[in-house]
Amino acid sequence: MDFRDAAEDAAFRETVRAWLESEVPRLGPAPDKLEERVEWWRPWQRRLYEAGYAGLAWPREYGGRGASVLQQAIFYEECDRAGAPDRLDVIGAGFAGPTLIEHGTAAQKTRFLDRILTGEDLWCQLFSEPGAGSDLAALATRATPDGDGWRIDGQKVWTSAAQVAEYAILLARTGEGERHRGISFFILPMRQPGVDVRPLRQMLGGAEFNEVFLDGAHVPGDLLVGQLGGGWKVAMSTLGYERAAIATGRVNTLRLLDELIALVRDTRGADGLPLGQDAFVRQRLAELYTRMTLQRLTGKRILSTLAEGGAPGPEASTAKLFTTPLVEEICDFALSVIGIEGQEEPADMDPARAKWLRLAYQARGTSIAGGTTFIQRNILAERVLGMPRD
């Protein structure tokens, strides 16, 4: 048990920090609109690629760095610290790429992998459907043989970044059997007439997600991944990468607590005294601080297990259930400190305050995405505690 960086990790951290400190300040501000942000981000990704920081987790033979789990974590910690841009290639580099490395043909690897790392191709994920949310195996989109490939008809939903993606990983029914037996896994070129991307406005008004209507979209014959009818197994790999990404967490709760403390320091109560003297506020903040600390320490546990090549332990399955309500409560508490002015249209608010409202809503979205709280609890009870299925 030792929480300090090992010597080579400390050296890696130094190198990364120095590189980021020289590179990040040269970036201009990120545009708000996604399409513009992609164009702003691409040269940054290219620099990461050239410096050897793209595909940290990927094997070297596919252009990655083959970095250890710990070094990956160090890299993202340092990115947070330096204020580096948010990743726009999470689906490509995080889920689709690793899935292709595991299940793709040599030709697929040659054609797609490098362009993911350079930032040339963005990817999206076409799994969820209106009738198949938590129950993915209920999906209905059909792939029917069509010349040398397939014709795709159906509707997908909750697709982020579909409007800027060159390719999608797609699940569709090829009909070998019921539920998960009849599903195949494809690569779908997004820029074609049969693909219609319509933004789905979320409740705050922005469009984080899209609906994707597939009406005679074409998948060439060489873009099937894995076996025909064997898509479920491939998808499980993808979802495993997704879960790992969610479990190790991308919300920086430490920074949130720092900002919350700063907010409290800047606020006076109705009695005119500093709010930070109020025993109720002090108890609540200390409790949130406690949970933030435990959430981060659990993250370190998961990393430590992964770093030693072990399968994630029970703590990995609990991480999302612990984190989701924590982020909601941090935001809700900040909003209660701000009072009614925290309910203003975020576009009109001071950005430091608007952030709380946006994140409060986003956090609710997170507790729905990637398996609701209920599904997560079922999984925990059945797989970790060994309790029977319903």
Partner: protein, 360 residues
């Protein structure tokens, strides 16, 4: 002892519900919001004489008391109607003025049956704290009152200024250059707010409320917000039960999962408790019972929090579809969050309760 509504109250409730469905359905509300113009609802409130519910007939009202007013606000909540005009006007300005000898008549006369008089206080605090940042000299008022509910569009502002142990009520007409109102957009777009800047604005002092009267007047506002949140919560639960009954996952309706049923049951527990609190407070305020104000605080603190809990449960049970702009849940969700802070947070009312309980 009788808790139930009488027949007239039930008829009133049904009539309001039907009128709201007809004249202020969710499709209409969405259109008004998209056009950033809620005035069609103001007309609907006038047309149905809702402004007069809970106002004595001799003052030109429809009669009825706090119970009828609370019933109306529960219905407004169920319909997520843009009820601000009723809250800031009839509930607020008139509710304050009516406690002065001749105050309501004066207000009516000034308004001449046309414009809207609005209570001019910061909407994030209990209204009996008054407009704290305003000075008065030689009959002219200066200062800023932030986040005034329904200030944009009001013809007159009723400004309560702290004075000694009570509030002086000043009436300030809008329209001149001495009154500047800057609209503020909220995520709940069914409410209008504005910052009011008074620059040597000419006002008329129409009287003074002592501390008790000011607390009574605020208690009615708190009650109405609580009743509205109760209505929001009931509707959100109804929507949710209906949705999970239809939505199929893993081959069965989502409603058949025990965790889903339990979340809905817990929401109902919250809602029925809120109902008890809201209507007792309404009766007690109406009858001038000594515990009316305390119970209005209780109702406000509990019902607005219960609605927020119900909103989050509803969102979770709807899954991703509830997270979209197109789904109606968002309208109710946002209103529930706003009502939590409107005219005083639960924390601020609990602090008042603690004061009454004399804990030291």
């Amino acid at each position: 002892m009788r808790f139930a509504f009488n027949e007239e109250q039930e008829m009133l409730r049904d009539a309001i519900r039907v009128a709201l469905q007809r004249e202020a359905g969710l499709d209409k509300i969405r259109r008004w919001v998209d056009a950033a113009d809620l005035s069609p609802f103001d007309a609907c409130a006038v047309g149905n004489a809702w402004v007069g519910i809970g106002v004595a007939e001799e003052l030109g009202g429809q009669g009825g008391g706090r119970v009828e007013q609370a019933l109306m606000f529960e219905e407004l909540g169920r319909a997520v109607a843009p009820s601000g005009v009723l809250l800031a006007g009839a509930g607020g300005a008139l509710g304050f003025a009516v406690r002065l000898p001749g105050g309501a008549e004066f207000l009516r006369e000034v308004l001449d049956g046309e414009g809207t008089g609005v209570l001019c206080v910061p909407a994030g605090r209990p209204a009996d704290e008054g407009a704290l940042q305003v000075q008065v000299a030689g009959g002219r008022l200066s200062g800023v009152i932030p986040m005034v509910l329904e200030a944009p569009g009001a013809s007159h502002l009723l400004v309560p200024l702290p004075s000694g142990d009570g509030l002086d009520l000043w009436l300030v007409p809008d329209g001149g250059s001495d009154v500047d109102i800057k609209p503020r957009r909220m995520i709940d777009r069914t409410r209008r707010f504005g910052d009011v800047r008074l620059q040597q604005a000419k006002g008329i002092r129409i009287g003074r409320l002592d501390r008790g009267a000011a607390q009574d007047a605020n208690a009615v506002i708190a009650l109405l917000v609580a009743a509205e949140s109760l209505g929001l919560a009931r509707r959100m639960l109804d929507m949710t039960v209906e949705y999970v009954g239809q939505r199929v996952q893993f081959g069965v309706p989502v409603a058949s999962f025990q965790a889903v049923k339990h979340a809905a049951a817990e929401a109902l527990v919250d809602i029925e408790a809120a109902h008890s609190g809201v209507y007792y407070a309404a009766w007690a305020l109406q009858e001038g019972q000594a515990d009316g104000v305390l119970h209005a605080w209780i109702a406000k603190a509990f019902a607005t929090e219960a609605a927020v809990r119900t909103a989050d449960r509803a969102l979770l049970l709807h899954g991703a579809i509830g997270y979209t702009w197109e789904h109606d849940l968002q309208l109710f969700y946002k209103r529930a969050k706003l009502n939590l802070e409107l005219f005083g947070s639960p924390r601020s009312y609990r602090e008042r309760m603690a004061e009454v309980l004399a804990l030291h």
